[in-house]
Amino acid sequence: MTNEPANRRDENALWSIFGYLISGLLFWGGAGWAADHFLETTYLTLVGLLVGAGGALYLIWLRFGRE
């Protein structure tokens, strides 16, 4: 097949994107949760999750969307 390498790249990208989204949510969501816990607020988890998802999407765009 002629488009085999392209398919492989897409497959590669798929799994990396999944990983980035998870770790974005996990790290910054976790940071927000910890901040909430210590500052006794309730909204920082949400802020953290949004920042994490946004950061992950930005990273995905940097890595796979720029070419």
Binding site: N12, G19, Y20, S23, L26, F27, W28, G52, G55, Y58
Partner: protein, 263 residues
């Protein structure tokens, strides 16, 4: 017998399968670590070794059926997984990927082989160890190729980004490479095998319970539960092959990523 099949908890009424069905007691009291999953893992190593030694022993230009089967699996891992994903340096990693694929595949398929019927990978410790191997391999390969400093720098700092943005992005990159990758690798395999085994237990045990129930209507509907159990067994076979493939594919992808020059 309970060391092999730990079903039928005492009591009336249907006892749905639970995580207890995965905690099989040791085969003999004197060796506490020798449980059925451990036995199956050893069995899989023996089976895989014997199969491939036999299939490669009398290698001929016109292959026997056994040689053909062995070579087909080998060619699949070497060409479709290693070569297409990793590129020109792939030959170094074929032994590892091949071992990984056949080992995971055999252990997964044990989940539906009559009398064995237990996927060892539904115990999370086994996938953890396998993921740890893969984790070690792809980081080692990257460090060997680029040196520790520049390998870590390449992971943590995406080029072409204004400096303050690194505060946001670097933790995500590090978490991806050192935490999420090995975790998702192992948990995906574990969860699929665990859920699949549980699903089969529900329908087969449910069918069995309904068959032995005193109500006629329950007896009548019991075959449907069994039929569904059989259909799901075929579905499980597909999932088991797919999960072995994905585990190996992801390992190959991670190795390829560690070897890649550009970021």
């Amino acid at each position: 017998m309970r060391a092999f099949v730990n079903l039928y908890a005492a009591g009336d009424g249907f006892v749905p399968p639970s995580t207890n069905d995965f905690n099989l007691p040791p085969l003999t009291e004197s060796i506490p670590w020798l449980t059925k999953p451990v036995l199956l893992v050893f069995l899989s190593v023996i089976l895989v070794s014997v199969f491939f030694i036999l299939s490669a022993r009398k290698a001929a230009v016109v292959p026997s059926k056994l040689q053909f089967a062995g070579e087909s699996i080998y060619a699949f891992v070497r060409n479709d997984l290693a070569r297409d994903v990793i590129g020109h340096e792939f030959m170094r990693f074929v032994p590892y990927l091949f071992t990984l694929f056949t080992f995971v595949l055999t252990n997964n398929i044990f989940g539906i082989v009559p009398f064995l019927q237990f996927p060892a990978m539904s115990h999370v410790a086994f996938p953890y160890v396998l993921a740890l191997f893969s984790f070690g391999v792809f980081h080692y390969v990257g460090i060997r190729k680029k040196g520790l400093g520049s390998y870590l720098k390449e992971i943590a700092f995406m080029p072409g980004v204004p400096k303050p943005v690194y505060i946001l992005l670097t933790p995500i990159e590090i978490a991806t490479f050192f935490l999420v990758r090995p975790l998702t690798l192992s948990l995906r395999l574990f969860a699929n095998m665990f859920a699949g085994h549980l699903l089969l237990l529900v329908f087969i045990m449910g069918g069995d319970y309904m068959l032995h129930d005193s109500h006629l209507i329950m007896k009548l509907f019991s075959p449907f539960s069994f039929a569904f159990g059989i259909a799901l067994t075929f579905f499980e076979f597909m999932v088991q092959c797919l999960q072995a493939y994905i585990f190996t594919l992801l390992t190959a992808l991670y190795i390829a990523g560690a070897l890649a020059d550009e970021h």
